[in-house]
């Protein structure tokens, strides 16, 4: 009987521990929670400037080499409690935001800051919705004022107010 009781205790403990082992997708420490996204390579939406294509997910070091140091400077901050940095490269007419993956700084987004730059398809801040749709078509997803065109690893986002483009962002499609 004693053996039976002991066996029952073992089974209970083992069941509990096995339940615990069932969820292998979670990381081991609170600080190490996975944030991996399924990133495909390439997109038809790429920002071009000074003869260089700034691709989402490209190495920041390569961008800096091609574009030079940002004239507006770089702002870097550590995340609140964990490792990882938010980095912004201010090029005046556009800002590149970086993120870190596997200890490498990569391009997370490119945001237009004024109307002196345009997309390779010729759309800039202040243009109309019609110009956007004639350049990119109508296969967008709309989320409020956002019109989102997706291709591969990149989302090209137009924010419109009263049918006028207020913001253009190339962003990592996570």
């Amino acid at each position: 009987m004693k053996r039976k009781s002991f066996a029952a205790m073992c089974i209970m403990t083992a069941c509990f521990a096995m339940t615990a082992c069932g969820n292998s997708s979670q990381n081991t420490t609170a600080g190490g929670v996975n944030n991996e996204s399924q990133i495909e390579n390439g997109s038809k939406y790429v920002f071009e400037t000074s003869g260089y294509s700034v691709k989402v997910n490209a190495k920041i070091s390569e961008c800096l080499e091609k574009l030079g140091e940002p004239k507006g400077g770089t702002y870097e901050v550590k995340s609140c409690a964990f490792d990882g940095m938010d980095k912004f490269y201010y090029y005046g007419a556009y800002t590149i935001q970086g993120y870190q993956k596997d200890n490498e700084d990569l391009v997370y987004s490119v945001t237009f800051m004024d109307d002196t730059v345009k997309t390779p398809e010729g759309v800039r801040l202040g243009d109309s919705k019609d110009k956007m749709t004639s350049a990119y078509g109508s296969s967008f997803n709309q989320d409020g004022e956002q019109y989102i065109y997706t291709s591969g690893n990149t989302k090209l986002i137009f924010v419109l107010k009263n049918d006028v483009i207020e913001n253009i962002i190339y962003e990592l499609n996570q």
């Binding site: 209970m12 403990t13 969820n23 979670q26």
Partner: protein
Amino acid sequence: MKKKIIRILAIVLIPTACLYFLQLLFMPKYVSDINEGSMIEEYYKSSKNHEVLILGDCEVYENISPVTMWEEYGITSYIRGSSEQLIWQSYYLLEDTLKYETPKVVVLNVLAMQQSEAKSEAYNRMTLDGMRWSFSKLNSIKESMTEEESIISYVFPFLRYHSRWSELTSDDIKYMFNKPNVTTNGYLMQVGVRPMTVAPQEVPLKNYQFSERNYNYLDKIRQLCEEKGIKLVLMKAPSMYPYWYERWDTQIKEYEDKYNLLYLNMIEQSEKIGIDYTTDTFDYGQHLNVDGAEKLSKYLGKILKDKYDLADYRNNQEYQKTWDTLTEQYHREKENKLKEWENIQ
């Protein structure tokens, strides 16, 4: 029959006790590293007779020093802050705190209004694991969980942390039953100086509108304060990053006007406060160091004292002992950390 009962009890109690101790062992301790995870539970060890309760994210626990407000004005305050504290988490922490005490003033940092979804489990854990069990904790978990999380892993954290077996350190044994405080009444002290040489710029966003969900919780915070006769103060700490957009500021100002609250945008008042972002920040303008936090606390304390007629408890014996101990600890910690900082320079 007696033996049978003992056997059944043993079958239930022994594994339960084993699992309880394993849970204590495996839970992250947040003492030597990532101190932010310790802050929420520390509150339960405090004296719980505070006139000012401060809620919010890192912009409160890094930027405001309760000891300075005590030393300058005799204000008793506590910061229930945590990393990336979301607005509903602030609400449930308020509910939780009101089970123990009723402050006169609640200061709520409003940066969280711009974030309407929990970003990661790691931040959730640092706010939620430390709360004592109550419906407030349960509701906060339900509202916060990301898709990968489950309630059961909050009820039995061992389910979440069992795989830490290969990472266990001596800290996990040392602090199994009792942990030292890592803050002074919720203030996490930083003494380093890393000047802000480039100011973060206003990079346009996709959407500036605060979500309905966040407004609902802001309403709930306001209504709960009203029910309890507590004055609610909205504050935007003088942190330069994340960039505080004018369109966000306008929404808070509109809310302030609509409900006749006090909103303090400390970025606009940073010059008056005397903050120098080349000397008063430890991380390039994102948070203040202890010098900056003391400046802000003097400024904020004066406003709260004048506007809400807070009592000066410095000569009240009931409070003196607790606050003398806190003050002594605070200055000792400051001295030690400054020495450490000088040594690494």
